[in-house]
Every structure is written in structure tokens, then in C-alpha cells.
Symmetry: C2
Subunit: 631 residues, 2 copies
């Protein structure tokens, strides 16, 4: 019997011993212990988009949108391995004191493989960007790294949010995404299908919203038929948190929670984050759902628990020691990822920078820890801000905040930071201007500062105070290097004209300041590329609520972007010469060794990424690469 | 003619050319330009309790309560010199672009020499503690360092808040302090009188509250008679911000702002922070105040401006270069102050610590920047948290936050940080537990988190979440070193029993983490002493609103403190042997050189500090010191 059948058998036997009430209790994310059967309590909720999150100390890798900019599958796998090592080490420790609280288990509700359809979406930076192939391949690598390939599954990963979910955050609990067949297959479903076919994700999470009228967590068309039957997904399905009560409260598609719970179970949702499945007891009593169906769900869930080795004291991963957590080895990997995640968009012969110049570091996020960490993050034991990273290279740095991060009330006695920044710029050779967003300005509903928008962006601009700072600095400094930190696109049309260099830094993780300064001062060449389009203005796009892909993302956008998907400079001159359709000669002229991102597009009927590869190029070298279309 | 008479003469001549409206305009903190007389605008409001504040980058020294713990007059003078150097450098730069905004001038509303009468007061950490002599001498040193002794005054200092002001923050705008004659002279007035007699402070700031029924900024008894006539104070008087409107709005002692403004001017308040003096135009028209009185005020203010060399392009301080700001030299001084500000309260043979031990660093403020900086602070370009400082010594550190800093809402999806901390403690040899308050938990009205109390404390306890953390850690670790960070006393009675060592760290400035770890790992010996009593519970004290000194501070408190004013251990054994009344032999047995704080108390009729001296003692040495009673 193969190991999977073994786990199923064990699950079946165990579930058989449970009463119906016991079974139902195990379908909640906070599953209680069943002491008579020696089943400990288990909390299914854990997060690891870019490091074990919300569970104390952990290596905090760059935000997924930043990792996507690396276009480096291997790195994503290494990150997955590192995270799952830390997850196991933490799990082992928590187990030693029988602690089974939230964020202490092995079942991770990551990755977020939704397509970053519209730059307004506050959670877009949790994703791998706007391209389905890039998203799919990076997610597969991450999943493979996380889950491993041993006797036991190392940790569970969960594809979220099934099926078409990308804002608005406001109203997400009752929103209905209207999605055409074409967009479904080309865009929204693509990465789910690809990951299921090319890796073996343990779980899928249903979204809050409805798709074409059917709430995702209880959809007969998309969950039951498409995912479970057509795609033959064999893992378990979990609801987003509170999503099943939303069917009653916001979608208005059932009279009570028992009905909603039954709908969800009957359509394939095995596990509930939230409280709706408390009502399964009455749903079963009212024959809204059968005991067989319940049993099927619980068997899937216990198959997963057996597959993780949760009931085996000899599980190979039980030996992973706590010392791996936020270890030097992981910090080094993190630095590597951070370096490859940074995108050089413009360089008017100013970079790399001479560290003997008088340098002003200006901007409200220059010394910010929070922009390193993104959202759904852990707590690093060490971190390096942008300012600190630059100071490590350059002793004559002058630092000025220059403005607040965002507008708040303006009491009369408030600090006026602008003039200090003007003076710093005036009295320096070079100004490194660090502006941008923070996870407080773009984030999840309830999590972000801009509560009117529930975390979404209203436009592509910096906050007013930062725009004022930008305008004043540009007036007094001819040598501005703009570092834009954000998890989404910002209108860079003015900087493209004004600044000598532009560096796009997505939330870069705990080592972000080191990585950025390594690039600024030429220790390494930049190699990242944009995983999203940088539009000029929001008016160029369809309404946020419109899920048609028409005129969205580099594949379908009809206007001109300020910077395009795939853009990214290096410090070398690298040329790509196609010898035939699938063979390219790369010539690296320059003194830097580079991990080069080779992107291959097809242009008919529209531009489309068909393959990508990360290739190590030695300084002043040539190499021949095979790159075949993958779609 | 002496220089002071010269400045007065210049002021008189200039003021003579002004219209009455122009004169009145110059009595506002935001004095507008008078272009026809070549008088630029000037904003009088600046702050520098422990570094140039709210004006961007500056060296951020320890909070005043921490500096008081050094009992080191010389350091306070050096700090004053460093701050005024930075202030001049910043002023020179701002002047180069004609910037005269708030926090850019040379007139500082520091030091705060109020007596820290009650531990509930949120602003107590801005002061030098509870002893009048300590407060007086440290303030004098600070003032002398700040103001200098050159042709021009380097910067202005301001004694605040005249006369009896120490909470509550809530209701401060209409509060009336009832003060006895004995308490007035022994406590509240003492430092004001001492500083005026022994240094030459440029200004005095009137408090918000009333004293014995008279609002401080318009008090005939205390401002006009006591300060200006009896103490013969020759500088200018400024109101606290909004305090003159408060006479109408909260003290209900005038019908309108014109009346309040007239009252203030007639009783000696020359400068208004706020908007009340806009109404002096109508007050003069209504004969509530004479033009002569107005002229007198404005002459004082322009004497100060001439004394600062504001109208002389050749002023000696115009050459101070920006490079002094947050310079290496000042950071080194800052580190020295921080080291001397840390107080070792208990040491059960555990300190100094062997850096090869497995050390857990636990606590929500261990990696906090804000606890370094205190309030009324600048922005350092470098800083070292407690965690970072310890990590610099010890490579096997394990870090866990353990709890939130204070209670907030508890969403279901919130991180549960406690168990990670328990595990860190269990799996380490030593636990360094960093708990305490932050400037958000104790601060000024409108500035602090606990809006119900307007910044004041309700009791002497840590927040509930921190108490829980403490209790759990104590259960699992036998070797707890408690680092309590706060600007006021916390009940340490339990830690006194439970912990192997207790270190009191008042908000220690940008170098705080380095200073603390230098002490923990024995690079230097601690030498600080408590400048306040550490009571066990608030119930042992009179009501907060009661300004009687009966049963308050070490001088009059009848109960037992957990730790006493003046307490502070070193790593050496140091004995004090009085050879006669004023001659003491100090024997330093131990390997540390120490800056030793020698405190001399009289005990009749009650305990009272009568002299103190900071004395450098070489390792294993004896020295004879003269120390005469100063009061």
C-alpha cells in the first residue's frame, strides 16, 4: 500500500470511532481534543506567505510580490524549505509544552496565488503579481519546498483564495465577481490548475466573495464541479475566515448559519475557519447534510493530519532543532532573495554609487522597520533599515525624515520636517530619496490605516505629504536616486523625468536595507524585474469592481505604462540573441556576475510570458540557453 | 557699558521705532517679521529636554529622569554644551534658507525643574526627580552648558513650569494647586530660586494651573511679587501653550481673552504661547493694559534676541557647522550618560553576565525604539535597542516578545506571544526580561495612549499583559534578570523576591542598548542611583490632587519603599567612612574604575539630601573627599 493509502486507511479507522458530534467538532479550524481517542486539540490556522508569520521570531523574507520580482524558481523553493524548517522547529517546541494555539500548527494558509488584477487591491503584495505563468511556477516551487518529499509531509500549503479574488477589500464579504469563461481559464483559474497539476498542495481555501453568483466556499459550479471533479483535487478545502457565515449575512443566500454550513459541506468545503460549522449539528439533525458527507470531510482532514506525521512520535521532522529559526543560514538566504527582489528601473550613469560622496538619505520610510516586514509577517531578531544599510557603506550620510508617512491631524505643535530635508539635499552631492507606501497604507480589510478604503488604494500616488517632499527635493538636488518602496504600482512618470535613478523596492524583508545598499554601492548588480505593470494613472484602468481582464495587466492593457511588466536593469550590458525559436545566446558585457532573469514572451494574439529562467552569468561571458515555451 | 546693558539699549532703541500693534505682534511665540525695521519673523518655541527635540536629526540623550540618576553635574553641563552646539548648527542651517518655523529657533523651553511629587504624573520623567537639591544643581549645570558664557548667549533656557506643577494632566488647564508656605519654600520654589541665584536662565514659563487660586501665568502673588520682585528675576516670562486663554476658559477668572491677556501682561508674562495676546490690541484700547507695560515686555524680548546675537552676522556661533549634529563625539558622550543613568537595584551574584551563557531576551519593549527616546525627543540617525545591544555581546541569544506592550482589542486572529517566551526562558540558562512602560503609557495630556487618564498613571503596575508574562517567566526560569524600563516608579516588590537581578533603566536615549549591555556584560560597572522613591503601591500615597508634601517623596514618606531614593549598586564593594562631618574616605574594593555617586544626607528633622558629588574611583583604591552641606 502506498503511503497516501496508508494515511487514508488510518484516518478512516480513527474517524470510524467518532460520534457525529465529535466528527463535526473536527471540522472547525480550532479542533478540540477528543481525549478518549487520544486526539489532541489542533488549530489549523497558520500563515507563511514569506516566513512563519504571527508566531514570534522567524526569518522574515521579502513579501511575495518582491520574491516574484526575482523570477527565480529555485530561490522560492529554498525559501519554502527554510520556512518549513522553521515551522517544524517551532511546532516541535510548542508540542513540548502541549501548546496548540493559533499559528502554532503545520497547516499553512499560503501561498496567495490570486492574480494581482488591479493596482488598487490592498492585498496585491501578498501575491506573485499579475502574470499567471510566473505565479504558477513560483507557487509550485514554494509548495515543493514547503511540503517536501519525505515519508511525511513537512507542512501543508494551501492555495488561496479560490477562485477569483482580488478586491475590493471593502465589501468583500458579499461581493460577486463576474468572470467570463475566457478570463477564468486564462487568468483566474490558471495558477490553481497549474499548481494542482504540477505540485501537490494539501489544501485550497475558498474566498469570501461569490463568483458568477455562487459564494466561493459553497459553489456547486466552481468548487464541487470544477475543483473537485474536473481538476480532481484530492486535498481538503478550507473556508476563508468567517466566509461561511457571510453566505447568510452578506450574500443573503441562506436563512441561517446551519443552511450555509450545509451548503458549504455539500459542495466540498471540509474545514471552517469561523463559527459556521458549529451549526452543522443542527444541519445534520435537519437532514441538510448527511453523516456520510461529514465523515468524508473528516476523513480528508485526518488523512492530512496523519500525512503530517502528527500522530507519530518518530516523525523524521521531530528532530529539527529550534536553532534553525532565524538562523545565520536563513538570514543569508534571505539576503540573497532580497537582492534579487530589487528592481532597477532607471540609471542615468549614477549607480553604482561612490561611497565617498556626501550622501543625503531622505524620506519617512528610510528608517522604517515596518516597510521591511510587509504584512502577514513574523518578528525578526535582526533587521536592517534602508538608512542603516546605507550608513554601513557610507560614513558621511545625512539623514532627514522630510515628511510624515501619511496625513494625520496636524496639531499646531507638530514637527515641521520638510526644511531639514531640503537642507540635507542642498548640502549633499547625492540624495537617496526613499518614498512609498507601507502595509498600513495598503493591506487587508481591518488591518490598514485607510479605513475608508478598507486597505485598498484610491489612486497610484504617494500620500500628499510625500508628494510635497518629492517636489521640494527635486528642486534643490540634481542627483536624486529615488527608492520607491511599495507592494503595488505607484505613478513614477514624474520621477522618470526628474530622477537620475529609480529603484523599485517591494517590501524587502528583514535584510532589505543590506540588500538595497549592496546594490546602490555596487557590491552586487540588480537583477530583479517587475512582476506587475506600473501604470501612470488609475483612470487608465476599468473600474475596480470589474473582473473582466480587458485592458488590465501587461497582457491586455491598451495604454502605455510608465514601466512595464518584466522591466529591470542591471549594471552590465546583457544582450539576448535568439539563435532559433528556443535557443538564446546571452552575452554578458560587464564586470558583474549576475543571476539573470531571461523572460520569453509571445506577442500574438497579445503579449504573453511563455517561459522564464534565471541564469547565472559570469562577468564578461557568453552562454547558450535552451528556453522552450511552457504555454 | 556691560554687554547686558548694551543689549538692553539696542532693544530699547529698536522697540521705540515700533507702533503699538507691532509691539503686540512681537509678544506672540510666532512673532511675525516687521519688514520696515528689518526684523525677521521668529518662532520662540523650541524644546530640548534631552537633545534638540522635534526638529529632525539630533543626538537623543537619556530622558532627564535618567540623567538625574547619574547624579553627575559635569555630565549635565557637557550635555548642555552638546545640545546647544547642535541647536546652533541647526539654527545656522535653517537661517541659510530663511526658515523660522517652530522648533528652529534658539529659545528652548527646557529644563523642566518641577518636583516629581507623585509617581502618577505622566510627565514626571521630564524632570530630574523628587529631590529639590538634585534638581537644582543638575538644572544649573544644564543651563550653564546650554547658555554658555560668551559675548552672546549660546541659547536661551527656560525654567518650567512655574510654580507648582506636577499633574494631574487631566484638567490641568483649570486645576488649582493648594500649596502651603512650608512646601512652597522647601519643595516647589526651591529649584526655581536656586537656578535664578546660581545660574542665569533666560526665561521662566508659567504653568497651566493656578496656585492657591491664582493662575500661574497671571499671578500677582507668585509671578509679579515672588518671582519678579522678591527673587528679582530679570529674564522674560512665557506662558505655557494656551495657558492664558485657559484663564477665561477653564479657570473662569475673566470674561474674555482680552481681560486674560491684560491680567497676564500686568502680572509679568511677556510672551504668549497661544493666541490670547492677539487680544492685547483691544485690551490696550480698553485701557486694561498700558502701552508702557507692553513696551517693557517687548524690550525684554528684544534684549533676549540681541543677547542671542540674532541681529549680528558676526555672532561667534554662526560658524558652528552642521557636522556636529548627532556626531560621533556626541554619541560617545551620550553613551557615557546612558551608562551612568542605569541603576542596579539587586544583584544576587548573577551580574556581570558571562556572554557564553544561553541567554533569552524576552519582553515587548526589548526591541523597542520608542522606549529609548522618551518624549520631547529628536530623531537619532543611529540607535541601539536593548535586544540589539545584548546581541552585540552574545551570539546565542534567543528573542521573544512575550506579550504586547499594553492591552488593546483582542481579535480572534491575533498572535499569542506568551508560549514562545515561556519556551525561550525554559530553554536558556539566563532570562533577561525587559518589561515596563513607554512614553505612550505615561506622558503629556493629548500625547499618550491612556486617554482616560490623559497620560497619567492609574497605579504602579505594569500593564496586565506584561504582568501575565512576568508571572509565567518566573515560573520557568530561576535566573531572571529584570530590566525595568520606565520613567517613573513601578512596584518592584515581587521582582525583589523573584529575580536574581533588577536593573532600572529610565528611558535611556539612542545609545541605551549599548549602555545597558555594557553593564550587563561587565564592560563597565553600574553607577546610577534612583532619583525617585520606588513605592510599593499607590494607596500608600495621598490623593494625586493633594499638593501637600506630607507623606510624599523620601523626605516625608512614612511608609517603606521597595527601593529608596539614592539606591544603586555597583560591581565593586565601595565603603564610605566619614573622618569628620565633611570629610569622607572612600574605599573602592574591586576591579572596576567607577564614577561613584557620593550622596550625603541629613536625618533631622527628616532625611534630606544636603550634598552630592560624582567622584572617579580607580579600581582597588582609596580616596579622601571633602563634601560640605550645601543646604
Amino acid at each position: 500500500m502506498d503511503k497516501e493509502s496508508q494515511y487514508k486507511k488510518l484516518a478512516k479507522e480513527l474517524v470510524k470511532k467518532m460520534t457525529i458530534a465529535e466528527k463535526i467538532s473536527q471540522m472547525r479550524y480550532d479542533s478540540p481534543a477528543i481525549e478518549r481517542l487520544n486526539i489532541p486539540s489542533y488549530n489549523w490556522w497558520n500563515e507563511a506567505l514569506h516566513g512563519v508569520a504571527r508566531s514570534g521570531n522567524a526569518t522574515v523574507f521579502p513579501q511575495p510580490i518582491a520574491m516574484a520580482a526575482s523570477f527565480n524558481e529555485k530561490l522560492l523553493k529554498d525559501v519554502g524549505i527554510a520556512i518549513s524548517d522553521e515551522a517544524r522547529a517551532k511546532y516541535n517546541e510548542f508540542k513540548s509544552i502541549d501548546s496548540t494555539q493559533i499559528y502554532q500548527g503545520l497547516t499553512f494558509w499560503s501561498p496567495n496565488i490570486n492574480i494581482f488584477r488591479d493596482p488598487r487591491w490592498g492585498r496585491g503584495h501578498e501575491t506573485y503579481g499579475e502574470d499567471p505563468l510566473l505565479t504558477s511556477k513560483l507557487a509550485c516551487s514554494f509548495i515543493n519546498g514547503m511540503q517536501g518529499n519525505g515519508k511525511y509531509r513537512k507542512v501543508d500549503t494551501t492555495l488561496k483564495h479560490f477562485l477569483a479574488h482580488s478586491g475590493p477589500e471593502k465589501g468583500r464579504h458579499g461581493f460577486n465577481s463576474i468572470v467570463s469563461e475566457k478570463d477564468l481559464y486564462e487568468t483566474y483559474l490558471f495558477a490553481f490548475k497549474y499548481c494542482i497539476e504540477n505540485s501537490d498542495p494539501s489544501a485550497v481555501m475558498g474566498a469570501y466573495n461569490a463568483i458568477n453568483g455562487e459564494p466561493c466556499c459553497a459553489s456547486p459550479t466552481y468548487l464541487k464541479k470544477l475543483l473537485l471533479e474536473d481538476l480532481n483535487f484530492k486535498g481538503y478545502v478550507v473556508s476563508d475566515c468567517g466566509a461561511i457565515c457571510d453566505i447568510t449575512d452578506f450574500h443573503n443566500m441562506s436563512d441561517n448559519y446551519a443552511q450555509s454550513a450545509a451548503k458549504a459541506v455539500n459542495n466540498g468545503c471540509d474545514l471552517n475557519c469561523g463559527k459556521a460549522y458549529h451549526h452543522l449539528v443542527s444541519a445534520v439533525a435537519a437532514n441538510l447534510v448527511s453523516e456520510e458527507k461529514i465523515t468524508e470531510c473528516v476523513e480528508k482532514l485526518f488523512t492530512a493530519r496523519f500525512r503530517l506525521g502528527l500522530f507519530d512520535d518518530e516523525c523524521e521532522f521531530n528532530k529539527i532543532d529550534y536553532s534553525v529559526v532565524d538562523s545565520k543560514k536563513h538570514q543569508d538566504l534571505n539576503l540573497q532573495v532580497a537582492r534579487e527582489s530589487i528592481v532597477l528601473l532607471k540609471n542615468d550613469n549614477i549607480l553604482p554609487l561612490d561611497s565617498n560622496k556626501k550622501i543625503a538619505v531622505i524620506g519617512p520610510i528610510a528608517d522604517s522597520k515596518e516597510v521591511l516586514l510587509g504584512n502577514y509577517n513574523g518578528t525578526p531578531s535582526h533587521y536592517t533599515t534602508i538608512l542603516k544599510g546605507i550608513q554601513n557603506y557610507c560614513k558621511t550620510t545625512r539623514y532627514a525624515r522630510g515628511s510624515k508617512v501619511f496625513e494625520e491631524s496636524n496639531p499646531e505643535w507638530e514637527e515641521m520636517p520638510l526644511n531639514e530635508a531640503i537642507l540635507a539635499a542642498k548640502n549633499s552631492d547625492i540624495t537617496i530619496l526613499a518614498l512609498g507606501l507601507t502595509p498600513q497604507l495598503e493591506g487587508e480589510e481591518g488591518d490598514a490605516f485607510n479605513s475608508d478604503m478598507a486597505g485598498d488604494k484610491i489612486d497610484l500616488n504617494w500620500q500628499k505629504c510625500q508628494r510635497e517632499l518629492y517636489n521640494e527635493i527635486i528642486k534643490v538636488s540634481d542627483n536624486v536616486i529615488l527608492v520607491n518602496v511599495s507592494g503595488s504600482c505607484i505613478d513614477l512618470s514624474k520621477p522618470k523625468k526628474d530622477c537620475k535613478a529609480i529603484i523599485q523596492c517591494f517590501y524587502p524583508g528583514a535584510e532589505g536595507g543590506i540588500a538595497l545598499s549592496d546594490i546602490i554601492f555596487g557590491k552586487v548588480s540588480p537583477s530583479g524585474r517587475l512582476p506587475i505593470s506600473f501604470y501612470e494613472k488609475i483612470e487608465d484602468l476599468p473600474p475596480f469592481e470589474d473582473y473582466s481582464m480587458e485592458n488590465r495587466t501587461y497582457k491586455y492593457f491598451k495604454g502605455n505604462c510608465v514601466y512595464n511588466f518584466g522591466d529591470g536593469l542591471t549594471y552590465n550590458k546583457i544582450s539576448e540573441e535568439y539563435l532559433d525559436k528556443d535557443t538564446v545566446k546571452l552575452i554578458n558585457k560587464g564586470k558583474y556576475d549576475i543571476n539573470y532573469s531571461l523572460l520569453k514572451f509571445r506577442h500574438i494574439p497579445n503579449k504573453k510570458l511563455v517561459a522564464f529562467k534565471k541564469i547565472f552569468l559570469e562577468a564578461n561571458s557568453e552562454t547558450i540557453v535552451k528556453i522552450e515555451d511552457e504555454i
